[in-house]
């Protein structure tokens, strides 16, 4: 998670993608292993919370909002997100040769890729995680 933050500060999309995949692999490994312990499940819970909420909805969003201000010609965050999600040719064409815009675009696509990842018909395999977690949850857990 620290590495992911580091590459986010650097806006190194390759490093960001690599570290997201490392977290996803670890999360899947825990869910795949029937012998995973309560402690392992809580590690999976931390990863799920991080890649499913904290990272995309807080850290990445904040990073996008801060960096979009430096794009010239100016573009709002809403317009930027809509342009990418709608593949708006006019806007994407206008910024085609703008390295900073394209870097932010790649960053957003990496974030969206993990945020929208579906496995076993649930975002981020949440249902499988929830079943496993409930099974191991101690009765006296508070």
């Amino acid at each position: 998670m620290m590495e992911l933050l580091k590459y986010t500060y650097l806006l190194d999309v390759k490093g960001i993608r690599k570290n997201i995949e490392l977290l996803w692999s670890r999360y899947q490994k825990i869910l795949d292993n029937k012998k995973s312990s309560w402690e392992d499940l809580n590690e999976a819970r931390a990863i799920l919370y991080f890649i499913g909420y904290l990272y995309p909805e807080r850290i990445a969003l904040h990073s996008l909002a801060s960096r979009i201000k430096h794009i010239e010609p100016r573009i709002s965050l809403d317009r930027f997100l809509r342009a990418i999600d709608r593949s708006d040719r006019a806007i994407l064409g206008k910024y085609k040769n703008n390295d900073n815009f394209n870097k932010l675009k790649e960053f957003y696509l990496a974030v969206k890729d993990i945020k929208n990842r579906v496995k076993n018909n649930a975002y981020l395999d949440e249902e499988r995680f929830n079943r496993f977690y409930s099974k191991l949850k101690p009765k006296d857990y508070f």
Binding site: E57, L61, D85, V111, K115, V118
Partner: protein, 98 residues
């Protein structure tokens, strides 16, 4: 995209509710689930309780050009399936029609 949308609500309490959507509707949910995609063509507008530009509902709304009202606290309790509502996206308001 329309600034004002009127329509009949479908409140999503579980993913099974997406499969009950038969006609054009205003979707009301806490957040969205991947099964939303089976009904996406019938969604006139979305109203969700959470408020974040990178939440699933916001991304899907942008991708499919659906108007969305986010951050409506208690929407799934206030609006029941079958209610008729009027949404003003400019003023970010939603009201029940009688």
């Amino acid at each position: 995209m329309k600034n004002i949308v009127a329509g009949q609500v479908t409140t999503i309490k579980s993913k099974k509710d997406y499969y009950r959507i038969r006609k054009e509707t205003v979707l009301v949910a806490r957040n969205t689930h991947p099964d939303l995609m089976i009904a996406i063509n019938k969604i006139k507008a979305m109203v969700v309780e959470i408020d974040n530009k990178l939440c699933h509902a916001a991304i899907i709304a942008r991708e499919f050009n659906k108007p969305i009202l986010m951050g409506v606290d208690g929407a799934t309790k206030k609006f029941k399936t079958g209610d008729r509502v009027l949404i003003d996206f400019n003023n970010k308001t939603i009201k029940k029609l009688k």
